[in-house]
């Protein structure tokens, strides 16, 4: 009996994570990285709704012997899902990851985002569209930078889309262009989105004059219900006809918004805003975090992605603010250029930053609603940019 007991203990000990972790110390490093991300999410409140599940997914996937996620099922020679391997050795996170791999979760997140978004400021001031377009500059500058650093065009496209400051768009694009970079790109994108209040203000101040920053903008006109109902249908048709590859994102975003604005689908709207959005966020966060295995994440590529992601955010902010400056001049000083920086998406954080920086210059100034226009235009702009990348660059 004692012999069986000792053998059982020995077997358990040899399979235990405390022993096997030292066979691949990268897993230990990744667990420590996940602790850092957990601290940032819980302790510092950095995008906790996504960073927390991402960090925990990273922790789970790096537990030795747990077998929750198998990279080889999704990233292999054929670059297609290995259904046989999935059915024989698939773990919990492998099955949940299907929603990412098949491009299901990001459009569902967009459905919820659409149901929560008020496009009124954009409809009232459609000039904001152009600021949303200018802020996409960062995507293409980062694309060039990534190419110069030796990434393939598809990888460079996935890295560039970080500059869209839009998590679901970045994940949607990366799963189709370079899924092996998904963990690094998602973490970089969400980390920088959380750091928008730190990254953007110095650039905004450097590119604007105190006089321009103090401009008080005219109150926006009221937008009729009919306009708000027509808007999502119109945008879906125009954008999807122009860039069909972006239809899953734009279509779902606008469907969610139509739920909200129509006023006849209140139950669907509430579900999209709350339950569905929360469920999908959990699945998306945990599984994206699970792709950050030691072998995938602890590479020079990750460092390059982090650097290029920062460049993408900075250039995106510059593009928006510079176009804001141009509109300030052309409008005879009626447009505050600070609202241009909100064009980098990151809803509503980037608009809040415009509001805060503007209020520092003129405490009685309220730019929030004006900045929401470029902010939501940026969501549409980054989806269009993603469509361009997806239609030109080779898919895996």
């Amino acid at each position: 009996m004692f012999e069986i007991f000792s053998q059982a203990v020995e077997t358990l000990a040899s399979k235990s994570g405390f022993v096997t972790i030292f066979q691949d110390p990268r897993q230990l490093v990744m667990i420590l990285v996940s602790f850092v991300l957990l601290y940032l999410a819980i302790g510092r409140g950095f995008e906790p709704l996504l960073l927390l599940p991402i960090a925990f997914g990273m922790l789970l996937t790096n537990i030795p012997g747990a077998g929750l996620y198998h990279t080889e099922i999704f990233i292999n020679e054929t670059q297609h899902i290995d259904w046989e391997l999935l059915s024989t050795s698939g773990g919990l996170l492998d099955y949940l990851y299907l929603g990412v791999k098949l491009g299901i979760y990001p459009p569902l997140i967009f459905l919820g985002v659409g149901a929560m978004t008020d496009f009124g400021p954009l409809i009232a001031n459609p000039k904001s569209f152009i600021m949303g377009a200018a802020a996409q500059l960062g995507i293409f500058i980062a694309f060039c930078g990534a190419l110069l650093l030796g990434f393939s065009p598809s990888e460079a496209g996935s890295i560039g889309i970080i500059g869209g400051a839009d998590g679901p768009t970045a994940i949607f694009t990366t799963t189709q262009l370079a899924p092996w970079l998904l963990g690094s790109i998602a973490i970089a994108a969400y980390s920088y989105m959380a750091l928008v209040p730190i990254i953007q203000p110095p650039i905004m101040k450097a590119l604007t004059t105190p006089k321009a920053r103090a401009v008080r903008m005219e109150q926006l006109r009221p937008v009729s219900k009919l306009e708000k109902i027509v808007f999502p249908i119109l945008v879906t048709i125009v954008v999807s006809f122009l860039v069909p590859d972006t239809t899953p994102l734009i279509g779902m975003l606008m469907l969610g918004n139509l739920f909200k604005e129509s006023g006849v689908a209140d139950r669907l709207c509430k579900t999209a805003q709350n339950e569905l959005m929360n469920i999908v966020t959990i699945f998306l966060g945990v599984t994206v975090g699970a792709t950050a295995t030691g072998a995938n994440f602890l590479t020079w590529s990750t460092i390059k992605i982090v650097v290029m992601g920062l460049a993408a955010f900075c250039f995106g902010t510059m593009g928006g603010v510079l176009l804001g400056d141009l509109m300030y001049v052309l409008s005879g000083g009626k447009i505050n250029p600070l609202i241009g920086s909100a064009g980098v998406s990151a809803v509503p954080m980037a608009a809040r930053v415009s509001q805060k920086v503007g209020q520092k210059e003129n405490p009685s100034n309220f730019l929030l609603m004006h900045a929401m226009g470029p902010n939501v235009a940026g969501v549409i702009g980054s989806a269009v940019a993603a469509g361009v990348l997806l239609s030109i660059l080779p898919h895996v």
Binding site: P126, Q136, F140, C144, L234, P348, V388
Partner: protein, 126 residues
């Protein structure tokens, strides 16, 4: 699309150019369409106004009566009696009845002190 036959700088330049042109085209196109729609809706909403000329004679009749009454208070159309009473009471309380109220009209300023206080309250969390 097969990009293997192009050099890295060629791909980079072509992508920046194509990407920015398409993004700007899409969003500038939306700008014009939404602006046109806005104008159309505005025109549509303002349409019934000219078809109601019967209403203006009443306010027009009021100004001639004003000088006759010596100190009439001009009240902008759409402001209710209760609102006027509240404003008059507040001003009287503040000035001790020394002020003469000649007119009550909506402030044309972008944001009044009360509205500003409301906005501050609503945007405080941001």
């Amino acid at each position: 699309m097969d990009l293997s036959s192009f050099s890295t700088p060629e791909i980079a330049v072509a992508m920046v150019f194509t990407g920015l042109v398409v993004v700007f085209c899409a969003l500038v196109g939306l700008w014009f369409i939404v602006a046109l729609f806005g104008k159309a809706f505005e025109a549509f909403q303002n349409k019934p106004k000219p078809s109601a000329p019967a209403a203006p004679p009443a306010p027009k009749a009021a100004p001639p009566a004003a000088p006759a009454a010596k100190a009439p208070m001009k009240i902008e159309q759409g402001i209710g009696d209760e609102t006027v009473a509240a404003i008059v009471a507040a001003i009287t309380a503040m000035t001790g009845g020394k002020a003469v109220i000649r007119s009550v009209k909506r402030s044309r300023e972008a944001r009044s002190n009360w509205a500003q206080a409301g906005v501050v309250q609503n945007t405080q969390p941001f």
